[in-house]
Symmetry: C2
Subunit: 488 residues, 2 copies
Amino acid sequence: MAKEITRRNEDYSQWYLDIVKKADLADNSAVRGCMVIKPYGFALWENMRDQLDRMFKATGHVNAYFPIFIPKSFLSKEAEHVEGFAKECAVVTHHRLMNDPNGKGVVVDPSAKLEEELIVRPTSETIIWSTYRNWISSYRDLPLLINQWANVVRWELRTRMFLRTAEFLWQEGHTAHATRQEAIDETLLILDVYARFAEEYMAMPVIKGVKTPNERFAGADETYTIEALMQDGKALQAGTSHFLGQNFAKAFDVRFLNENNIEEYVWATSWGVSTRLIGGLIMVHSDDDGLVLPPRIAPLQVMIVPVPKPAPELNEAAQQIMRALQAKGISVKYDTDDRKRPGFKFAEHEMRGVPVRLAIGMRDLEQRQVEVARRDTREKTLQPIEGIEHHVAQLLEDIQQNLYQKALTYRNEHTTRVDTFEEFQHVLGTKGGFISAHWDGTTETELKIKELTKATIRCIPLDAQDEPGKCVLTGAPSQRRVLFAVAY
Amino acid sequence: MAKEITRRNEDYSQWYLDIVKKADLADNSAVRGCMVIKPYGFALWENMRDQLDRMFKATGHVNAYFPIFIPKSFLSKEAEHVEGFAKECAVVTHHRLMNDPNGKGVVVDPSAKLEEELIVRPTSETIIWSTYRNWISSYRDLPLLINQWANVVRWELRTRMFLRTAEFLWQEGHTAHATRQEAIDETLLILDVYARFAEEYMAMPVIKGVKTPNERFAGADETYTIEALMQDGKALQAGTSHFLGQNFAKAFDVRFLNENNIEEYVWATSWGVSTRLIGGLIMVHSDDDGLVLPPRIAPLQVMIVPVPKPAPELNEAAQQIMRALQAKGISVKYDTDDRKRPGFKFAEHEMRGVPVRLAIGMRDLEQRQVEVARRDTREKTLQPIEGIEHHVAQLLEDIQQNLYQKALTYRNEHTTRVDTFEEFQHVLGTKGGFISAHWDGTTETELKIKELTKATIRCIPLDAQDEPGKCVLTGAPSQRRVLFAVAY
């Protein structure tokens, strides 16, 4: 089974697609650019979603649901929003089908044309702010801290499963505040939530930073981002949090009376992460044998395999182990399929990234022990069945930490300070990764560098030190280094 | 506050809409027929969804996600499906907007016309069975027990919040089986899950039954339903479970090799409940003071109100009570708003259907007691603070049971056996409700009765006794009674 996937050093893109398919995460669909998220992939998304949802709620946010459709005219209301966005989208023009007069299936009923076209939401700022207008009149109505889990559609030309699909699942937070500072604080609070989620649950180290004006969300005053580094040296924007100023409030005329009874426009933020995170998860941890998953979000943490096949004594021991593990909150299954050999099963569970495998045979049982294999390092040890739940719990924690440390080490080794453009190009062409370099602050230079190298400014890290220097391309003065990379 | 809602006996429809608005469940949106589910309404849906999800998973089902779009041609593949369905739907014809050459916002880019139109899913049998074709080849791949939580769109002419909206949220299960019997068993298993959920969590008694051919889902061999009775004497179809036979397998050519290595078509079921359930919930339990919610799915079970307003000693006592309740898994909030009088707050929490209110004042505190008010009967008692968590836990359970019993009594009192058409019309015109009557089994008679009375056959109850009789309209022989009602 493991032999069926392409090796990373042969063809990284194909390896990625092989993992998605062979680990049963997703499948292509009959609709261009849309994927089917298979049960195993969806269970992974559910774990990620549920944890994020708990973190949003713990910080005072509530969920709601807004319409999937946006009247076309709404998209024109915020000038920068429509300029930088929302051109490639699914447009609903009719509301009825009819039987083909020629008897061939169904056709669109031309008499059922909509007066105004509807856009399948690519993001929901416009429909939500048109609603907030009715909900906000006083400072007492603020803040509004609302999140929505939803599907969105952006008609991408080149799609890749999870990373860029025409339809994807995401959450979008849309908050309304009485003051500028409160909105900025919210934007940064959420950036922290995203970073904590990525690092503590996905074991994926991220750089928190701010985007350049050129990479800003259309309609935002400031876009903050978490950026992760993939094993092929490319960066992935893993989540963004936008300070929207009063732009949408002005576009949709959302005002409130402040405590001094003076009318003001409302301050806004929006923020989102999507199923794209699953693409990042795959590319940060997985290997040539398949998926590797951090235990805290793995759909299944432990698989028990009977060797060579199920038998009453083995089944009984497995049940005992399962009860002990489950009592500690560990998810576990017993592989009772008696048509497959153990070696085949081992490869299958490795392909799906199950963090820990327990193998139990008759001889093991006589000695009251099991073989414990960890997915990340492939190490195997023999452990007593007595107290196995403590060993496994600690092992899952070790795996979680090891994956994070490994990814952090990789990122540190692939973050290079460069001071000349020659070096910039050399590093990019050889080891890739993040390049920390000076930039003169102009969009012109940023675009020129992109044209010459395909690298973009991923962010200005929030912890960037003041350090006078010279732009790596133009030599013009710079106040601090920014992070470049070729990105997904 | 409570005065602002219309009384049920004045205008039931308006009362319903008032509840939806004043209890903060949902709001109208800028898009025709689409609603916004507000945070309080969504929290209610989350509780319902999560409980149903647990019940689906406990019966072996897993979640997945399929594309929102369906290629137009797919709808023609199952002849009955397209005939009875999917005509009023949102049709995507273009994939790009462009700036208006006249400078007025954006227009649809005529060059971005899709080769084949896409339909926003009204239900997903077709896209899912086109996918199952790739997943099923052997009996070993069966059964497939997949559910999806999703939004769907049906372009309804007349909409009403929750009950009938253009876009709504639902779950749709789509299962594939090796045998006819297994698929039928699945259909009935899910019907039981739905009935248990409705009765044990929503406190809404339901009748399990089978639909007549005329009321069957388009493409199904048999449609099972749970039917509930609203306080205005109308019925609500609350959930349906369909045995699809091999219809979709044949339409999408989904075959498998059985254990004897013989190729067969796969057997199918599909089943769904939606946000419509919230409409039913409102209409079964609520009253002229607002929403009434069963404790097991209420977003908030207990509200503590300080009288007349927050004070250090009251706050401390409230914190102590909250900890005690939360330790028993009871959700509770303390209303610290100091701008509203207690009476106003009481009405507000009653409007939102919070099952239990605790009011605590200084004099109560001296006597170490609180006032406990239950939403369903409006009864108030004084209870010692010591051990209040046990009292409240039992009270929540009592409220849950009382709501169910009350609804069941109402339904029993509004289910009438009639044997003449005159009586049929009389009962329908006076007390309404379910009418148990004989029917000759023909669609012609069914439609004639509908034309004359607006009543439809809600179902043939699964527990209907064999009882020879004569059709209430035609006098033709009948083998058992069926249930009629005017329905939402």
